[in-house]
């Protein structure tokens, strides 16, 4: 299915260029080791961004992502203390995430409330719940956690894909199929493109809304699982602000914030660009960490302006 590949192509070009800049500046930067690290470090964020991408494509927004990541972590750590296997608690939390998302979607559609407000409430609710579970950082002690961390797929050039990166790719593959090979995916694009027309064309608006937020919740919960395993702990402040990073990754990945235009794989490259910027600045060593956010901000600006131009080209309306 040919869609507007232009923004994604730009994203990939930016990624390659940044990577090249890193290679020119620092020895050993241009390696599969760095690439594997970026993927490993940002896997949880990219997973959450994949879910956010669906929500944004449908014309909505989900602010509860970061709190979901934190909540999943503390609950898993708590259950770990009760002797649960992390896979069992992960399964429970992923179901919880999907259910929580579905509730948000239902409220948004049924009560006709802006998704911003509903998911903002979700943000507060889940963050508060984190503190109800624990005020401190709790460790995940189950042996599975270290087994999980030990899994790695070697890459040519000495690097490797860690288990979290592998999980992320699996999540991405499923998402690509959902987006581009199911009628639900087509409905999401239609709804984000023009809600009224979509409804007239027979798109089930309520079911699609509920499903898309459920999917968003599921992916952010899965991101939370990966984050908990990656850090082998649950911390009530974990994932603070991750929703904004996820949205940034989605936008950098070429998805229009107003919905309807974008590709699911965009979230991968958007998330990797954010990770790459952080890595570049860390490599430098002398630069203040604040530059990570500043560079990300500048890049976002550039992308938004570029997208604006793209949207203009899609509406020739009065072209004579």
């Amino acid at each position: 299915m040919k869609r507007t590949w232009l923004p994604l192509a730009a994203t990939i070009a930016v990624f390659v260029a940044l990577f090249g800049v890193g290679g020119a500046l620092y020895n050993h930067f241009l390696s599969s080791l760095v690439l594997g690290d970026i993927l490993d470090d940002n896997a949880f964020l990219i997973i959450a961004a994949i879910g956010a991408n669906f929500v944004i494509l449908s014309g909505g927004i989900d602010l509860s992502i970061g709190s979901m990541i934190g909540f999943v972590g503390v609950v898993m750590a708590k259950l770990d203390a009760f002797g649960w296997h992390p896979l069992a608690s992960a399964a429970v939390m992923i179901v919880f995430g999907a259910g929580f998302g579905a509730c948000q979607g239902l409220i948004i559609d049924f009560c006709e409330i802006q998704p911003f407000i509903v998911t903002l409430a979700g943000l507060f609710l889940l963050r508060g719940a984190c503190f109800m579970v624990t005020l401190d950082s709790l460790p995940l002690r189950h042996p599975f956690v270290s087994d999980f961390a030990a899994v790695a797929l070697p890459l040519p050039g000495g690097g490797f894909l860690a288990s979290s990166a592998l999980a992320m790719f699996a999540a991405l593959a499923v998402a690509v199929v959902i987006a581009h090979k199911t009628s639900f995916g087509a409905n999401v694009y239609a709804m984000g493109g023009d809600r009224t027309s979509a409804a007239l064309m027979g798109v089930p608006i309520r079911a699609t809304t509920v499903k898309v937020y459920a999917l968003g919740g599921l992916y952010s919960a899965f991101g939370g699982v990966i984050y908990a395993l990656y850090t082998s702990s649950g911390y009530p402040l974990a994932g603070s602000g991750a929703e904004l990073s996820a949205i940034a990754a989605v936008v950098l990945g070429g998805t229009l914030l107003t919905g309807g235009i974008g590709l699911v794989v965009g979230a991968l490259f958007g998330g990797m660009i954010l990770g790459l910027i952080a890595t570049l600045i860390n490599f430098n060593g002398s630069l203040n960490g604040a530059w990570i956010m500043i560079s990300s901000g500048v890049l976002l600006f550039v992308f938004i302006v570029m997208q604006r131009a793209l949207v203009g080209s899609l509406t020739p309306r009065s072209a004579s």
């Binding site: 299915m1 040919k2 869609r3 507007t4 199929v177 581009h180 090979k181 199911t182 009628s183 995916g185 087509a186 409905n187 694009y189 239609a190 984000g192 493109g193 023009d194 009224t196 027309s197 979509a198 007239l200 064309m201 027979g202 798109v203 309807g260 235009i261 080209s313 899609l314 509406t315 020739p316 309306r317 009065s318 072209a319 004579s320």
Partner: protein
């Protein structure tokens, strides 16, 4: 002749409005049946009933003789009734294929088979003679192509009735000709087609039969030969029954320095260039059928629509029309849809008046509360607005009083030219007469008034001159004794 789709004695009431009253309508296979009527005649309601967007309170809908009941547009579609609207109801960001396939995606092994969808999309479009890249987003194509894609979507193998609601409204002449050709071809294939257009030439070019609605009732049905334009216009406007000519104040001819001169003002695709002159103290009417360009002319003069040809002079000064420039030079505009464009319904009369004045004065020179109160009560008295006090939200007033509040807002800035678009739309008879008298009085005080209206009686009562419009062009100007219903309608209908 057997009818493919048939509506018998349909009635529909919305709160306060009898939208349809005992209307019969039937379309045979291989027939193009035009549905005609002014705003509020009941066309949309009838279409909604046919396409499942509304259900009738009474009456029966039959398809090929079988009684049907459509609970939703999907029901109607499944039964073979397709519809295409003036606004292309497709998603511009989706590809052409997706737009055509959505809701009936072909599947293979449980997953969407886009290859098959593309093949089907090309096939559907080819039937209409359209060869485009179905992989590109719909939004990159012209409205004409989008309209054809919408038609392709409405046409299934089992579609037997096609409703086209103002399909040519945004098309140019060549595109319209192509669309009409396609309609003829579909008719040849045995489809029953309902065609709605305010372009009478298109209606006469394509229709086999006409049905005319007015105020929710069927007032005429027949072939184009039986209902020629000269007969159609009175039917639509409903004057043949009310032959009583209103006694009207003799129109005066105004000479001297005009306050407003439009020369060759126009906008491509919207309004052919026209000339119009307004003198102080003169009331000029704009008459024409729905879609003739009344509102567009008014907006071009005010600057709410940007003209791409011609010039506008106000009091001898040549200006580049824009709402800001017009307001600054004392031109006030009261739009047709007062709820959407004219008034802040939640704000009180006083606040609405204050906003108009304040924006003219600039925000630094605040209008004192006492001053606001004084102006508001002055206006309430001068215009006879029925309200307990100036603090009542405008939205809670009756239609007539809302319109007066709109007028008050326009008048408080002491304009020299007042442009009114449908000043009596949706208000009751008593208030109607009051507004008409008010307009006359304002003109008598030296204001130049331009009134665009679909109501002939109203125009005849207020106008010193009447400009007649047809199909987005000025086609005549009447003054003096010529301002009567027969002459105006003849001018509207004249080929």
């Amino acid at each position: 002749m057997t009818a493919r789709i048939e509506i018998v004695a349909a009635a529909k009431t919305y709160p306060g409005v009898r939208a349809l009253d005992d209307v019969d309508f039937h379309v045979a296979a291989g027939e193009v049946h035009a549905l005609l009527g002014e705003n509020g005649a009941g066309k949309s309601t009838l279409i909604k009933i046919m396409t499942g967007a509304a259900t009738a309170d009474a009456g029966e809908l039959r398809l090929d003789g079988r009684p049907m009941r459509f609970a939703s547009p999907a029901d109607a579609r499944a039964a073979g009734v397709g519809a295409v609207y003036q606004e292309v109801n497709l998603v511009p960001t989706l590809t052409v294929t997706e737009n055509l396939a959505l809701g009936r995606l072909p599947r293979r092994f449980g997953l969407v088979d886009w290859r098959a969808a593309r093949v089907q999309a090309r096939l559907r479009l080819r039937k209409l003679g359209v060869e485009i890249d179905v992989e590109r987003p719909l939004g990159v194509y012209s409205i004409a192509i989008q309209q054809l894609v919408a038609i392709a979507r409405a046409l299934d193998e089992d579609t037997s009735v096609l409703v086209l609601d103002e399909p040519t409204a945004s098309l140019d002449a060549a595109e319209t000709a192509r669309l009409l050709d396609i309609v003829r071809e579909l008719k040849g294939q045995g489809l029953a087609i309902v065609f709605i257009s305010h372009f009478l030439d298109q209606v006469y070019a394509i229709a086999d039969r006409l049905t005319v609605l007015r105020n929710g009732r069927r007032v005429g049905v027949g072939t184009p030969q039986e209902i020629p334009p000269a007969k159609l216009v009175p039917l639509m406007l409903g004057r043949e029954l009310e032959a009583v000519e209103r006694a009207r104040a003799a129109g005066q001819t105004h000479t001297g320095e005009p306050i407003l001169v439009a020369q060759g003002l126009g906008k491509t695709r919207v309004m052919a260039p026209f000339d119009l002159t307004l003198h102080p103290g003169e009331a000029v009417g704009l008459s024409g059928l729905l879609g003739a360009g009344r509102t567009e002319s008014a907006k071009l003069i005010f600057g709410a629509l940007r003209a791409d040809s011609g010039s506008l002079k106000i009091a001898g000064e040549k200006i580049n029309p824009s709402p800001r420039a017009s307001l600054a030079r004392g031109i006030a505009f009261c739009p047709e849809d007062r709820k959407a464009e004219g008034i802040f319904a939640e704000l009180s009369i006083r606040e609405n008046i204050a906003i108009a004045l304040q924006s003219k004065r600039g925000w630094l020179k605040a209008l004192s509360r006492a001053e606001q109160d004084r102006l508001a009560s002055e206006m309430i008295e001068a215009l006879g607005i029925a309200t307990p006090d100036a603090e009542k939200p405008v939205g809670q007033l009756s239609g007539g009083n809302q319109q007066k509040a709109v007028l008050a807002r326009a008048l408080v800035s002491d304009p020299r030219v007042l442009i009114l678009d449908e000043p009596t739309r949706g208000i009751d008879v008593g208030a109607h007469a009051e507004i008409v008298a008010l307009i006359r009085r304002l003109a008598g005080q030296g204001l130049a008034v331009l009134v665009a209206s679909s109501e002939l009686e109203e125009l005849i009562a207020v106008s010193d001159r009447v400009a007649v419009l047809r199909d987005r062009a000025f086609v005549g100007e009447l003054s003096g004794a010529d301002i009567n219903q027969q002459t105006i309608m003849r001018t509207i209908a004249a080929p």
